[in-house]
């Protein structure tokens, strides 16, 4: 009951902003060509989606996101778990991983282009690297954060080897692996869109960039809305799924949505 009331109140200020926008355009204070109000944007967005053009760009971006994520997932989790369990391996890979973590992955794009050429593979590889680094670090962090007493308890109850891994280590590290997946995907989305701006003909980034350059405010805001929705699903949606799947995990604070 209380939850519902908060949700309704949350609609007040966005609605107020929308109404104010409409009003200012109607009064002629704002130019509808530059700032099309929601009442004009909504039909335009629907038309773009119905016409199939926006779908094409959306599916291209999603394809890039999913493919690179699929490449990164298993190696990242395996490496992350090994790093969490072996101190020597962690120390040995530390220089490489910390530099890769700290550098904005888009800066690696020219180097990858140099080696793989200016093509789709370059974009997928750089995207996969973004997810990979984030997931590896989160996974190893998850293993390292496991309370020693939990491990000891598991051992005392007779869990060793695979059983210790399956019933103690993995469930404890899973929330962090999931957080790494979510942040990795969010960072990858930023990278994919940035690359699409100038180096791709298809994809939401390319469409958004063209719309901005050709001064088509309606196309621009429509695409922006779709990208925003994608970002929303990736952060809030995945977070809810994570909480549902892993009730034992601690709810992360809002600022951890990157």
């Amino acid at each position: 009951m209380r939850q519902r009331r908060i949700n309704l109140r949350g609609l007040v200020s966005p609605l107020a902003v929308g109404l104010l926008w409409e009003l200012l355009v109607a009064l002629g204070v704002l130019n509808a060509n530059y700032l099309p109000p929601p009442s004009q944007l909504a039909p335009h967005l629907v038309a773009l989606l119905a016409g199939g053009e926006l779908w094409r760009h959306l599916s291209m971006t999603l394809y890039r996101l999913c493919l690179s994520f699929a490449f990164a997932l298993i190696p990242a989790v395996l490496l992350g778990l090994s790093l969490g369990m072996s101190r020597n391996l962690r120390l040995a890979l530390e220089p490489l991983l910390t530099s890769l973590y700290a550098i904005p992955k888009i800066a690696l794009l020219p180097l990858v282009m140099l080696v793989l050429g200016v093509n789709e593979r370059t974009l997928i590889f750089t995207s996969a690297l973004t997810s990979f680094v984030q997931m590896t670090i989160s996974t190893s962090g998850g293993v390292l954060a496991i309370d020693r007493s939990v491990l000891e308890a598991g051992k005392n109850y007779g869990a060793t080897g695979w059983r210790l891994f399956r019933y103690v280590l993995l469930p404890s590290a899973l929330p962090d692996i999931f957080t790494g997946m979510r942040i990795g995907l969010a960072l990858t989305l930023v990278l994919v869109i940035a690359v699409e701006f100038t180096a791709a003909q298809e994809g939401l980034g390319a469409f958004l960039w063209t719309a901005g350059q050709t001064l088509s405010a309606k196309n621009m805001f429509s695409t922006f809305t779709v990208i925003g929705a994608l970002g929303w699903i990736l952060s809030y949606g995945l977070e809810r799924i994570g909480n549902r799947l892993m009730p034992w995990r601690q709810r992360s604070s809002a600022a951890m949505f990157l």
Partner: protein, 262 residues
Amino acid sequence: MSYRVLSREVTIPLATLLIMLAAWETLVHTGVLRAAFFPAPTSIAHTLLGLALSGELWVHAGTTLGRLVLSFVMALIPATVLGLAMGWWRTVRTTADPLVNLLFPIPSIAFFPVVIFYFGLSEWGLLLTGAITPFLLITVQAAAAIEGLERTLLEAGRNYGATGWRLFVRVMLPAALPHLFIGYRLAVGVGFIVIVAVEMIAAKHGLGGYLWHSWQILRIEEMYVGLVLIGLLGIFVTYGLEALARRLMPWQVDLLRVKEQR
């Protein structure tokens, strides 16, 4: 004395780093790695030195650093004020929270075309793009910092006679500061990614622009120099600020360390 210094924490990373660099160097000289793609570390270092002496490098590094600082300040001040106000006054929170939450998950770089649509490809457009997501992030974190304070802390403060402004400055702010700082650090990290990306897409100056330009004219050594500098700046932004936080707020070391692992 030197026994402690030479522990595994230092020797192993250092050894792997040196081995990787040595292997790279050897593979280039034996022709296994193509020097056109992967110039030897020594020749990259040579180019870096030359560029540093000619001063060209400092112009680009300074530009990027300046942009990072300016856009961060543009985000920092209004976001801290808004976030603290959201934590303190319920009305502010219920009004601003939905808007902030609506904008926050939008990929930061997507704001760029929208910003240059209105502001043109100007320095302001660049700075504003770099400031948007940090602004939202700091706001969320500051509001959560005040909201997450332990009630016992506030009660204790009140019992000692602190009310209103005094309670805020003397009790709440110091307790919230480490959380605020986490927000600041994450915000600088995000701002850095956006600024490098935007520079690569649309700027002539700055490390991102320099990196992109040297790739386009196939000056590969210079491209690596750009990459190294972006990496160094990234390392400072990611790890240096955290070390600074430990220095400034020694009473909250554990908190900072736990959050770091996310």
